[in-house]
């Protein structure tokens, strides 16, 4: 019954545009408290819609689900094509989840221009959702670019650091530069389709549609060119070592809410998994690409962790730990086997709870000490035991302790990497040691020991809103850690299809029926 009712309902469009429409509605609201409640309501409705999608999503299936497809610019083969599969659907839920938490967090931490802030945040949600659900590459690119606008203003206007203008600009330009290359790559994909279409006298001359592009073969040499062009787009955004220097600046200078989104939603590596690997399987599995990407990933793991070890500012530490975690994800992606891809996907989701969670913790500390510098901390566990407890729980998840979500993802990546090539795994495993070292050492110096001299004596422990954030993150961390079954089931079908596509000799075989059917 419910199924029939919802069959033709454009739920993804609703998810996509609800926040931005909501942001427009906020424009006319004047009272700040009303703005906050309205923003929270919108975010919660959005989350409810996403949960509905997650619940209705058919697991263990590689199919694109909840598809919506309308021609947009038919002459160029651009369409408004939305759908989710096992690779993207969890990101949709994660985005909505984190946005709710950010709204809750911002409730009393954002004090000026609340309306504008909430509008930016909701606009950011729409654009991020757009990146995850678009199956047309132009549509995807539009959202990818639009995302920069709210991000830019969030960092610039609500950032706490003195260098926020610089950080915002650096972030935008870096990403923009990458996406220009990516656009070229997308154009080449289109050209390739066009050539194939003219050769085979297909009805459709041009297409930017992901499924169409999947269905035509691409010569390996072309694949390589396109791969490296798209690589720049995704690697700058991710960021993949050594293109990471915008990240510590943006995360340190920007507001916590923005940092949560930046660190929690791994758009760049999602791009690799969504577009680069399936569209360009021969390039992705070529020795050059695998070697370079895995080496970059391994460097990132060790370099990021090593850098994190010596950071005195918690947010910089977290930025470098993000670099390290992304290294794991990249290694997993380009180890190109089932376990490693599944692990990478799960890890991307996990980071939305653990790394993003640690940014919330940094925010809680910031609210109390007006800084995230180590010198302002010390022995705080005595005064804020709850904060210290959640710091530890989320931190342990981030270093992959068994029983937390981090372990499941990291283990699968390492296992897959080891299968692909034993030395990938052997080097990556060193990250496990470093992770423990940088986190626990920082934790020891900030939370344990005697009370630091700069710590205010009258400090309140977690407040109700902070508790909501910390508890909901911890629940997710333990859920995925102890009983990841629902999440794995959602992913499995698409991961299986991806693996088959990578290791299939005939690139054009998968997705073939799709274009036939449309003729």
């Amino acid at each position: 019954m419910l199924e029939e009712l919802t069959a033709g309902f454009p739920i993804l469009s609703c998810i996509l545009f609800l926040p931005v429409v909501g942001a427009a509605v906020l424009w006319v609201v004047d009272d700040e408290d009303t703005v906050r409640s309205a923003a929270l309501t919108i975010a919660l409705v959005e989350l409810a819609l996403c949960l509905f999608v997650l619940l209705r999503f058919v697991p263990e299936s590689a199919a694109m689900q909840f598809t919506e497809r309308v021609p947009w610019i038919p002459a160029l083969g651009i369409s408004y094509h939305l759908a989710v599969d096992g690779i993207s659907v969890l990101f949709v839920g994660l985005t909505a989840f984190l946005t709710v938490l950010v709204v809750i967090y911002s409730w009393d931490t954002i004090r000026h221009q609340v309306k504008l802030y909430m509008m930016c945040l909701l606009a950011l949600e729409t654009t991020t959702m757009g990146v995850f659900v678009s199956l047309d590459l132009i549509l995807f690119f539009v959202f990818w670019e639009l995302m920069l606008i709210p991000s830019y203003f969030l960092i610039k206007l609500w950032g706490g650091g003195a260098e926020r203008h610089y950080a915002a600009l650096k972030f935008v330009l870096y990403t923009l530069l990458g996406s220009v290359f990516m656009l070229v790559g997308i154009a080449l994909l289109n050209i390739n389709f066009h050539e194939w279409a003219s050769l085979h006298h297909a009805d459709q001359a041009y297409s930017f549609d992901f499924l169409d592009l999947l269905s035509v073969p691409i010569p390996v040499s072309q694949q390589m060119v396109i791969f490296w062009l798209m690589f720049l787009g995704f690697a700058f955004k991710a960021p993949v070592f050594p293109f990471h220097t915008w990240l510590p600046d943006a995360l340190l200078e920007g507001p916590i809410g923005m940092s949560v989104v930046l660190a929690g939603l791994k758009l760049g590596t999602f791009g690799f998994m969504r577009f680069s690997i399936p569209l360009l399987p021969d390039a992705s599995k070529s020795e050059t690409v695998v070697t370079i990407l895995v080496v970059l990933g391994l460097c990132a793991i060790l370099y990021g962790a090593w850098m994190a070890l010596v950071q005195a500012d918690l947010r910089r530490l977290l930025a470098y730990s993000s670099v390290s975690h992304l290294g794991f994800v990249v290694v997993g992606l380009f180890a190109l086997n089932y376990q490693s891809l599944q692990g990478s996907l799960l890890t991307m989701i996990n980071l939305g709870f653990s790394t993003a969670g640690l940014f919330f913790i940094a925010g809680f500390l910031y609210s109390r000490q007006q800084t995230t510098q180590l010198s302002a901390f010390g022995g705080m566990a005595k005064q804020v035991p709850l904060l210290a407890t959640f710091f530890l729980i989320i931190g342990l998840a981030s270093i992959g302790l068994p029983g937390t979500n981090g372990f499941v993802g990291e283990f699968l990546i390492l296992l897959g990497a080891f299968e692909a090539n034993w030395w990938f795994g052997a080097v990556a495993v060193l990250g496990v040691i470093f992770g423990a070292a940088y986190f626990l050492w920082y934790y020891e110096r900030s939370m344990l020991g005697p009370l630091g001299t700069a710590v205010r004596v009258t400090m309140s422990d977690l407040q109700i809103r902070e508790m909501i954030i910390a508890v909901s993150l911890s629940v997710m961390i333990l859920w995925i850690g102890l009983y990841p079954s629902p999440f794995l089931r959602i992913m499995n079908g698409s991961v299986q299809a991806l693996v088959e596509r990578i290791h299939h000799d005939q690139t054009a075989a998968v997705g073939g029926p799709e274009i036939q059917q449309r003729k």
Binding site: K156, L169, W306, Q311, Q339, Q342, F418, L440
Partner: protein, 658 residues
């Protein structure tokens, strides 16, 4: 019956888990009495279940495999959260839940009045859950959950007095050093999976014959790295003595009786792999023998009552590794069990001493306590005799069996190391006893006034442990090589090696062992009861050696210099590199873009601006703040987009030409 047993098996870790959840969430909402009852009660229930399961295994001889649920799966990988209960697991379960229960009860008295009372019991129960998973798992990954879980609890409990710098540092050190071992263990797990496509013990050991000797050696050595970390063997032993920062019951439970023996469990569990690699076996044996001797030498001169016991633990764990390495698996397990009894007894009795002396741990400030705390004295003495290796107490049988096994299999060097270690063990334990309980009192006046015997809740568990230390060896492993334990474990580790031991030889070796223990006692008696001046004289005479031992061969300092400091220095260097070089390139590119922007202003005006409506909208939103930056931003945009369009044109051209 089997269904009931399966249910009981599932329940064993659930009881403490429930206690963790309830005490963890509500601990501070109700009285301490409720919290500790829940804590020891849950472990008690686990113990009862264990006994029931054990009797079933003993009676039917079946191995139980119980799947709780599917944990990680996908592709050809399926890992269940599942349990395997066989005789080996039973042996460990009895020790963990039994000794664990006694220590929980003891803690009620010992921790009375501490600020973090419920926190303590929550961590202790969490430790029980992890330790139970460790020994009950039916595959490597469940073992690994438990493995890191006990590491976490060890971290939390070492850092129990977290506002103390030394405790906080010791906690971090313990976790990080353990993680080094864990990384090795993980590699072993990956190797197992790559070779067998499964992580279940039964399936792995069924196909173990396919392993090439090289691969078996690689897996065994990686497993050994894990075991060395967890069981504090050379060269990763440094965390255990520091772990004494935790409350004494923690030292007894985690850092003596149970967690640190996990390495031995792992090796015995994987003996099928170790057996394939004589090289790995001799590495295990020499790591064990070396550690046994090495730690004993340090134990000779330490002055902190708990540190002496800590080094003694490291040394005794060395004996267990030595046992594994020479193939005496049953003897190693036997020693794990007897050691759990007498070392828990010694630690708890030491805790009772510390309790009586209001926290004093320095044996130079003790003495003459035998009259003041008679029960603790008697019980400690039983523990000392047991560990020193005098029959018929427990330690004699198990240690002698390991040494005899080494000797009979012609590992004379290892036997020699073990024998010298045994002499030292006997010496430092009697030294500890003399300095603590006999001779004149060296306590300060204030402490002396408050000396009191511990309450019954603390003494009663000690009595049980003393009883086990007394007769445990006879019950479990008499006669040597053919005791009850040998028969019980035979299905897992195989029957005892058939070496052509003449009865005379057996008795000769026993005689030697007894003589060694007596010599150690005699020497300690001479130096600390008869002629204390001589002891001081020797310390001055061999002051270089004495200081080296006192400072634990300066290994901590060496590691600090080699690893900790150099890693930090290099990190600082990398930080500089990141800011100056990596980011420098980025900034240089940025400046190039600025130049481009300058040249392209007019293009921007007439061509690009129309395309920037989007940005215009954004700027509009933030007009107030944004105005200052606006022009610069647009310049950058323009430059990049133009560069991009140019690039696009070039690439398209090239591709079309191709």
């Amino acid at each position: 019956m089997s269904d009931v047993t399966d249910l009981l098996i599932k329940l064993i870790p659930i009881f403490p888990l429930v206690a963790v959840i309830v005490n963890g969430l509500l601990g501070n909402r109700y009285s301490h009495d409720m919290a500790h009852r829940l804590a020891w009660g849950s472990v008690g229930l686990s113990f009862l279940c264990t006994v029931a399961v054990f009797t079933d295994v003993l009676r039917t001889g079946t191995t139980h495999e119980v799947i709780a649920y599917q944990w990680i799966f996908g592709g050809d990988l399926t890992i269940n959260l599942a349990y395997l209960v066989d005789p080996l697991t039973c042996a460990w379960l009895l020790v963990v839940t039994g000794v664990g229960f006694l220590i929980h009860v003891y803690s009620v008295g010992y921790m009375h009045g501490e600020a973090g009372f419920t926190r303590f019991f929550t961590y202790m129960n969490l430790f029980m859950v992890s330790m139970l998973l460790l020994v009950m798992g039916n595959n490597y990954l469940v073992l690994f959950i438990g493995w890191e879980g006990v590491g976490l609890c060890s971290y939390l409990l070492i850092g129990y007095y977290y506002d103390k710098v030394s405790a906080a540092q010791a906690a971090t050190k313990a976790f990080v050093v353990n993680r080094i071992g864990d990384a090795g263990f993980l590699v072993a797990i990956f190797l197992v999976f790559v070779n067998f496509r499964t992580l279940d013990y039964t399936k792995v050991f069924a196909q173990v014959g396919q392993l090439s000797p090289e691969m078996a050696t690689a897996i065994a050595l990686c497993l050994l790295v894990g075991a060395v970390g967890k069981s504090a063997q050379l060269p990763l032993h440094t965390w255990l003595p520091d772990a004494m920062e935790g409350p004494t019951p923690v030292s007894a439970l985690i850092h003596a009786a149970t967690m640190v023996t996990a390495g031995v469990y792992m090796i015995v569990r994987n003996h099928a792999i170790f057996d394939l690699s004589p090289f790995a076996m001799s590495v295990v044996a020499f790591v064990g023998g070396g550690t046994a001797l090495f730690a004993a030498t340090i134990g000779l001169v330490q002055t902190d009552i708990k540190r002496v016991l800590a080094y003694s633990t490291v040394s005794q764990l060395g004996y267990m590794f030595l046992g594994c390495g020479v193939g005496a698996y049953t003897a190693a397990v036997f020693h794990v069990m007897t050691h759990a009894f007498f070392k828990a007894l010694l630690f708890l009795a030491a805790g009772s001493v510390i309790h009586a002396l209001s926290g004093e741990q320095d044996i130079r400030k003790m003495g003459g306590l035998s009259k003041r705390i008679p029960w603790t004295h008697r019980l400690f003495l039983i523990g000392t005799v047991a560990i020193a290796g005098l029959p018929p107490l427990a330690g004699f049988w198990s240690k002698d069996e390991i040494m005899a096994h080494a000797f009979m299999n012609h590992h004379y060097l290892l036997y020699g190391m073990a024998a010298v270690g045994a002499l030292m063990t006997s010496f430092y334990m009697f030294r500890l006893t003399y300095l603590t309980f006999y001779g004149p009192s060296r306590m300060d006046h204030h402490t002396e006034e408050h000396v009191h015997e511990s309450p019954m809740v603390m003494v009663a568990p000690l009595m049980v442990l003393a009883f086990l230390s007394g007769v445990g060896g006879l019950i479990l492993g008499f006669p040597p090589e053919h005791g009850w334990l040998h028969g019980f474990l035979a299905p897992v580790v195989g029957a005892a090696g058939e070496h052509e031991a003449s009865t005379g030889m057996v008795f000769l070796l026993m005689g030697v062992a007894i003589a060694i223990a007596l010599m150690g006692w005699g020497l300690a008696h001479f130096l600390y009861a008869v002629s204390p001046v001589t002891a001081d004289g020797w310390a001055t005479k061999f002051s270089g050696l004495y200081r080296t031992l006192l400072n634990k061969y300066y290994i901590d300092e060496l590691y600090d210099l080699l690893f900790v400091e150099s890693v930090k220095r290099l990190g600082k260097l990398l930080d500089w590199f990141d800011r100056t070089v990596v980011d420098g390139v980025v900034r240089a590119v940025g400046r190039l873009a600025d130049l481009g922007a300058f040249g392209s202003t007019w293009i921007e005006k007439y061509i690009v601006y129309a395309g920037l409506n989007v940005i215009g909208y954004g700027n509009h939103l933030a007009a107030r703040e944004g105005r200052k930056m606006q022009s610069g931003l647009v310049h950058h945009y323009a430059a990049i987009i133009i560069a991009g369009l140019f690039l696009l044109a070039v690439v398209v051209q090239l591709v079309v030409q191709m």
